[in-house]
Symmetry: C2
Subunit: 341 residues, 2 copies
DNA sequence: CTGAAAGCGCTAACAC
DNA sequence: GTGTTAGCGCTTTCAG
């Protein structure tokens, strides 16, 4: 392991000068700097992050707090992680994956006490999440992927549910539909008060109202079976619904089956939208579903970047909302003449 | 930040004694130890990992080298990561997610030079992977999820393809099928010489032979479209095939479409198996597909555990093979009388 | 502009 | 058994 001392010796300077030359932390004569840089290159010098961190109190390591997967994990969560890891890497940071095994607060207390990480990235944030409070009080820099009910000045990157709902509603309204239903995320499988479920529910209702579209909500199927049942119940109560947005991919499966069972067809009799699921999943359906694809990788990247930003300097809160991307598939079409099914 | 010195002062002992009491690194009087432990607890003391690592050359951090996602990522990769992170956490280790942005070797050189990690976990290992060689030469402890062609004494956890193929073949043979086809992974979307593709190919062929089943291979569709085309080509050339194992979930979609297009039905006319895909994905198909589900989380856990094991003591190579789990769905049935379609 | 020296928090010899 | 001392490799005063 070649150390800074080796570099300094080879360049015939003091260790502190070598350090300065490499970090630009104080003025160094151009000639000296070049000697040091050459020596470092020749020796393949890599600064020891531990030593640096011990001294500077900054490790350039971020932790991504990883919730225990409840109902099996989705691609979305993975993309947060890869996006964050990539963005961190590009900025010279590392990303630590910290499973919340013991319970989030305990895990955080443990993690932050170690002096190992400069900041924490939170995901799967509940509206009344307790973790932000804890971190704020502990003075640990952090950012959220998602957001609490009242994020205040906390940094976050989240889905722009308002825009997403508007886009979705505009899409179906543009096709001529007059009545839309939403199957929200099931309550199990997610933390209570799960932001995306709540916000999507609110924003779809608002967008439909603003657009003058009749709107039905309240169904929250979390499996194929529940999805099918929900669809049957929906049509029994609201036979004039011609467009349906589903937030759970398994529920969508059940809907598709139920549609076929009723002798209906997609998209002729029903326009079906998959919300918050990846195009990769949408491709597995027939017909290929129109999707509102969450910008998961992007959110991961943003989260990491804003956290690093925050670490490197103060400033106003960084709060970013990114809408889902509307990918029009073959499950969207104008409603039948006369509407209803 | 409360340090060991604070603890020592409060317990009225020397710092080194406090250290020893807490780590059990040398005999300490019972009374003293209890005083130290109480002091530590009262102060909420957490050892500084950087300082400890700097001194002891051991950070208890593992890196998971994360390949750049090629054709979009699967759940499988995510489960490696979560499994490894969990197992590491249980053993007092941390897991660093390192994207191979710049190219694997460069990334490794960088990473290992930092003194930040005790060992490296490799995934997406190609048969002639260059990373193991590099790590071995650099003297960095590592383990693989997957394995090279000749793993020699390298630690690894991988899928037991032989057992998996035997189970799959036994399943279809047990139903009475006489001729099986395999759609292997496409060549793009994976590193050349991707172990799972090669080994699955070999082992399915062997298992079919041993079981006296006719066997067709050579098709490697990587998308729905290719899957459909491959199925058409397959039936044109081998109309007597009644069972098909598909390794790519998108290709499976195409197969299902093509089956319907031909007026055939699953499972009456074709028994369809999804290999190496998760049950979660299989659920999205209709009928729900019979699956050979990879033990991804388990492999991640095993990989982390064997690496930590290796770090803590020498010993014989740790090499573990875990078969896929056969989850029988509704896409398996005996062939029609007379076989063929 | 450069060098010498102190010290981050901890572990590990070495004395007592 | 316990305390004292010397670093791990680096950054950062402080002199020169």
């Amino acid at each position: 392991m070649t150390s800074l001392r080796d570099v300094a010796e080879r360049a015939r300077v003091a260790v502190s000068t070598a350090s300065a030359a490499l970090n630009g932390t104080r003025p160094v004569a151009a000639a000296t700097r070049r000697r040091v840089e050459r020596a470092a290159a020749e020796l393949g010098y890599r600064p020891n992050l531990l030593a640096r961190g011990l001294q500077s109190k900054r490790t350039r390591i971020l932790a991504l707090l990883f919730p225990a997967p409840r109902g099996g994990f989705g691609l979305t969560e993975m993309q947060f992680a890869t996006g964050a890891a990539e963005a961190a890497g590009e900025l010279g940071y590392h990303l630590l994956l910290s499973p919340e095994s013991a319970g989030p607060i305990e895990e955080l207390r443990h993690l932050t006490g170690l002096g190992l990480v400069d900041g924490v990235l939170l995901m799967e944030v509940a509206l009344d999440d307790e973790r932000p409070r804890f971190l704020a009080e502990a003075g640990v820099p952090f950012a959220m992927i998602g957001r609490t009910r009242e994020p205040g000045t906390i940094d976050y990157a989240d889905i722009d549910f308002a825009a997403t709902a508007r886009d979705a509603v505009a899409h179906v309204a543009g096709l001529g539909h007059r009545k839309l239903a939403l199957f929200n995320l099931a309550e199990d499988g997610h933390p209570a008060g799960y932001g995306p479920a709540v916000r999507a529910g609110e924003e779809f209702a608002r967008a439909a109202r603003e657009r003058g579209l009749a709107y039905v909500a309240g169904f929250r199927p979390g499996s194929a079976e529940e999805g099918g049942k929900a669809f049957d119940d929906l049509l029994d109560a609201h036979p004039d619904v011609t467009a349906l947005a589903v937030m759970d991919d398994r529920a969508a499966v059940g809907v598709i089956t139920a549609v076929a069972r009723r002798g209906l067809r997609i998209p002729e009799d029903l326009t079906l939208l998959l919300v918050l699921s990846s195009a990769r999943v949408a491709e597995m359906f027939h017909p290929r579903l129109t999707t509102l694809e969450p910008p998961s990788t992007e959110l991961g990247r943003l989260g990491a970047r804003m956290l690093i930003d925050r670490l490197q300097g103060d400033g106003p809160p960084r709060q970013r909302l990114v809408p889902c991307r509307l990918v029009v598939g073959d499950s969207s079409a104008p409603p039948r003449e006369g509407g209803g099914s």
